[in-house]
Assembly symmetry: C2
Homo-oligomer: 329 residues x 2
Amino acid sequence: MSDTVVVGLDVGGTSTRATALTLTGERLGTGRAGGGNPTSHGADRAAAELSTALREALRGVDPARVRAGAIGLAGAGRLRADPAGRAAFDRAWSDAGLRCPYTVHSDALVGYASGTAAPDGTILIAGTGAIAAQVRRWRLDRVADGHGWLLGDAGSGFWLGREAVRALLADLDAGRAPGPLGRTVLVDLLGDDWVAERPRDTVDAVVQAVTRRPPVELARLAPLVVDAAVDGEPVAAELIPRAAAHLVTSVGRIRPDDATTPLVLGGGLLTGDTPLGAAVQVEVGRRWPDAPVRSAGDGAAAAAWLAARTLPDVTDPAARHALLVPSAD
Amino acid sequence: MSDTVVVGLDVGGTSTRATALTLTGERLGTGRAGGGNPTSHGADRAAAELSTALREALRGVDPARVRAGAIGLAGAGRLRADPAGRAAFDRAWSDAGLRCPYTVHSDALVGYASGTAAPDGTILIAGTGAIAAQVRRWRLDRVADGHGWLLGDAGSGFWLGREAVRALLADLDAGRAPGPLGRTVLVDLLGDDWVAERPRDTVDAVVQAVTRRPPVELARLAPLVVDAAVDGEPVAAELIPRAAAHLVTSVGRIRPDDATTPLVLGGGLLTGDTPLGAAVQVEVGRRWPDAPVRSAGDGAAAAAWLAARTLPDVTDPAARHALLVPSAD
């Protein structure tokens, strides 16, 4: 058992991370590659990134020592229904010299496991998109939102970016001078030296600047909102609690009112010391006062732990979690 | 003067209408053709539809009698900045044998003029999209919304359709059985015989059915919301006042708080005996209790009247309005 290695991978939209751990939590290697969401990039591309990260993490490790592996993946469900994609993942796995089986989990489950070892609880993720999920016996039981920018992602980075532009347009329509956030958004979209003769020309230019790009790129503006909120900017200070309310409403669709299980916060907008994370914690504290709130941490390590859990000689998964998955709190 | 004819055209997204009127309001002819929005269809196509409607309206009328003409057009502003498009309109005009000048107005101004002869007031239009405009001396002075489905059109047909789907998804996420509106939307999107094993599969199928099509087609679901609201369906009954609040918020961005000028309601969702029109009237009555609220009517006749106004022998435009533009109220 002391020789045993477990491998975890966290395949995200912008990066893929791999980690190789012993069961006592010794980190034998880590690897990193580009993003590989099989839904947007295709399973072949995702498998190629996975392969790169995996080889890097396993450099100098005898692959025969690896007895279990797990992959966290946005779009995991679609991969299961995609034999060619699954075959590409199988190839990447065996090309790395691995002979043990691996499992594929949704990124939401891996995010959950990166924050807690509890078998039951809730994960809320807000990054470009937003999704909440209820976990039961380490499986996704029910899901809320994750419906994409056109129909959902309420409270996400896309939502914050879109609402920042909408607030700017409302100011321009009403003939009010935009505030600090509005001016920052204006410069981001139109450049420093852009001047219009009429406010309506500015409105048209803003709408065109946004609609020229894929809609999801509105999420690019979310950090401007977050930074402005930190500075107490009034529009941003109003958007953040509205985003938090949307996110907590999504949680409320799947988490029982009397739940006392952990709630894990994940995604760039909720992890670390962010205003949206703080606003969500306030809302959650009101609605589920007894819920332990945790931050999502190292997804690759959490995936490795999910793999380790399945080994017959791992009898106390919670103790193993403390060794393998560094706490982000 | 009794020989004088004025011509008006209303070029919309789905149809083009033309009318030829004497200054006493005698309707010499009407014409109809397909939609011709120069922004979406191109100016050549718009000019071709205009030509068809114009020739039909002028059948049997000596074109030398036509002394003024006007065209109402969504995207009128862009046509002004488009010399090739403007040339196509010029050709259509002279091909119909017309030698008098014509003016191009935005569809919002023509909609306004179809409801009132007052030089100052407000127009609110809700169809697929939504726009509000303040009119001053028969010109658009300020505009609110009209920003398109990604950033605006709050309270529009697109908005109603999207919110109906969002309400359905919220029910499915929460494990609630959808109500009558949700079931109607489900059948519209997935067909009668669609059955999923798991609610999440239904969610995925709904999201895919919507995202397969151009987003603006969500407006196709708006009549389902309107019909459900007439029947008192609870979700629809909650969406209609929210849409009305959005629309009246847009109006409030451009209409002074103490205005007593007319407010004209246009677009398929607000004209006639519609629940959204009724809800908007309630909100408007609260906010501007002294505002006369009018329904938009015959856009082609209103365009003809806008043309007649410019003739030196038309000295009382309001009296002429009563003759030329049939009241929709």
